[in-house]
């Protein structure tokens, strides 16, 4: 795909984030969509392309009253929205549609109008993982961590520092769910969830949503907000079974999606001013830093523990507070994208001064899928 041909011209989260007992999941989609449409100065009838995950495109389009000529229901977990951005950019470039709305919402905490997740007993996961006591992401996502730690000499304290640093970012963000400062000792003394991970190393469970609007770069100049260009994109999937990953020393999906996006954007790691790595759990930023090629895996834990990703550090990472402290409704990728767009517009609560290139890297399932978007505010 050619770089900088498509731009984000509308971006918004739901009016509220956190605990939202007054709205169903479907209504949260609509709330985010209406906010993004207002942000872009558009009317619903201007939308001719639509993408969403978990909820079907027909469900959300009918509820909103949208009549699309292009739809994408790719649903590969929390990074689905990175894949939607990639697919939408290709569709706009190919002339299949002009203005794409991407929505996410999840009543992850209040569970209003949310279908329960279910693993069929005759699926491969149902036969070869469920009988061993896996029960939700905390029992599965951290399974690779001990091997990763042993291979690369990563310490428990370094993994705890991920949560500490992200809380520093969250403290600067009025919309973050958790803002009180924490220490490495606080993390290591918090309640055990699934060894080696404790409560403060696991993502929040909240309600919320977000929406993006994309159009061609040529049209983007006429919109009220500063355009944020899609500079590079990548995607991949590996396996829905965490036990069947090729290795626990890296993620194949990360290692495919990330470098694709960097290559398409034509950038090197030194060009990156701002970075988002989907942090459902504290090990993901370490995998991301290694798999995206920022540094050898052995250095990832020390890099974060020594403060390089904190406010004022040389590689600002997860500047909204991340899934650990900002919010995590279940599919966090949309919120990572929103923060990258805010940073590129120059309006983030913890704005990185003069940031021109933002890399936004997502995960779906337990390392099952990945999507990476490189944004820039300069064409």
């Amino acid at each position: 795909m050619r770089k900088n041909q498509v731009a984000v011209v509308g971006a918004a989260e739901t009016t509220e984030l956190g605990v939202i007992p007054g709205a169903s999941q479907l209504q949260l989609h609509a709330d985010a969509a209406l906010n993004a449409i207002a942000d872009a100065g558009l009317k619903l009838s201007d939308i001719d392309g639509f993408a969403t995950a978990v909820e079907t495109p027909q469900q959300v389009c009918h509820y909103l009253g949208i009549k699309p000529t292009w739809v994408d229901g790719t649903s590969v977990g929390g990074c689905s929205f990175m894949l939607h951005v990639r697919h939408a950019a290709a569709a706009i470039e190919a002339g299949l549609c002009k203005t794409v709305l991407i929505t996410h919402a999840e009543s992850g905490k209040s569970m209003i109008g949310k279908q329960p997740r279910f693993t069929a007993a005759d699926s491969l996961n149902g036969q070869f993982e469920a009988p061993y006591g896996v029960y939700g992401p905390p029992s599965m996502f951290p399974i690779p961590v001990l091997r990763f730690m042993k291979t690369y000499g990563i310490t428990h304290e370094q993994l705890a520092s991920v949560a500490v640093v992200q809380r520093e970012w969250a403290a600067k963000n009025p919309r973050a769910m958790m803002k009180d400062p924490i220490t490495v000792a606080d993390v290591l003394n918090s309640r055990m969830i699934a060894y080696p991970f404790r409560l403060l190393q696991c993502c929040l469970v909240t309600d919320g949503g977000g929406a993006l609007i994309l159009t061609s770069a040529d049209r983007a100049r006429d919109f009220p907000r500063k355009p944020v260009y899609i500079m590079g994109t990548g995607e991949s999937v590996e396996t829905p079974m965490v036990s069947q990953m090729e290795t626990f020393n890296s993620s194949r999906a990360f290692k495919t999606a990330g470098p694709l996006a960097f290559k398409e954007a034509g950038i090197t790691h030194g060009d990156v001013d701002h970075l988002m790595i989907y942090d459902a759990f504290a090990h993901l930023p370490l995998f991301g830093l290694g798999d995206l090629g920022f540094m050898p895996y052995e250095e990832t834990g020390r890099f974060i523990a020594e403060g390089n990703t904190r406010p004022g550090g040389k590689l600002p990472l997860n500047t909204n507070g991340g899934g650990l402290s900002y919010m995590h409704s279940g599919m966090y990728g949309m919120y990572a994208l929103q923060e990258s767009v805010r940073q590129m517009r120059g309006i983030a609560p913890a704005q990185v001064p003069n940031a021109k290139i933002s890399v936004c890297h997502g995960v779906g399932g337990m390392f099952a899928a990945s999507g990476t978007i490189v944004f820039t505010n300069e064409k």
């Binding site: 149902g126 006591g133 699934a194 079974m241």
Partner: protein
Amino acid sequence: MAEPQRARPKPTPETQHFWDGTKAGELRLQRCDACAHVYFPPRPFCPSCASRKVSVFKASGKGFLYSYVINHRPAAPGFTPPYAIAVVELDEGPRMMSNIIDCPQTPEALELDMKLEVAFQELDDKIALPVFRPAKG
């Protein structure tokens, strides 16, 4: 009221040989007749070279502890926390999720790379689940 039950696998035509094997006290894997790739979970073709000529064989049942978590909460139905959810690397190459029995469910006792051997837990009269215990000697 009955105790909440541990999730039970339900075989499909492609996996029936595996579950027939565990019922007979064997851990069965598949090997590609064309490229010799050994793989898991079961399927009637080779995921490496796509050949449909594959054979089922009895694996050694030996392997080592590749990684694990010790789950505290929330516990799955039928499990009493804390319990380890492990991934075992078999001597033949494939990895599989499992539980570690006859071993304290602690970080001190569960050492990465420790040698393991297969055992079978009868869940009901149809399903025996492969689990692993520390290898003797």
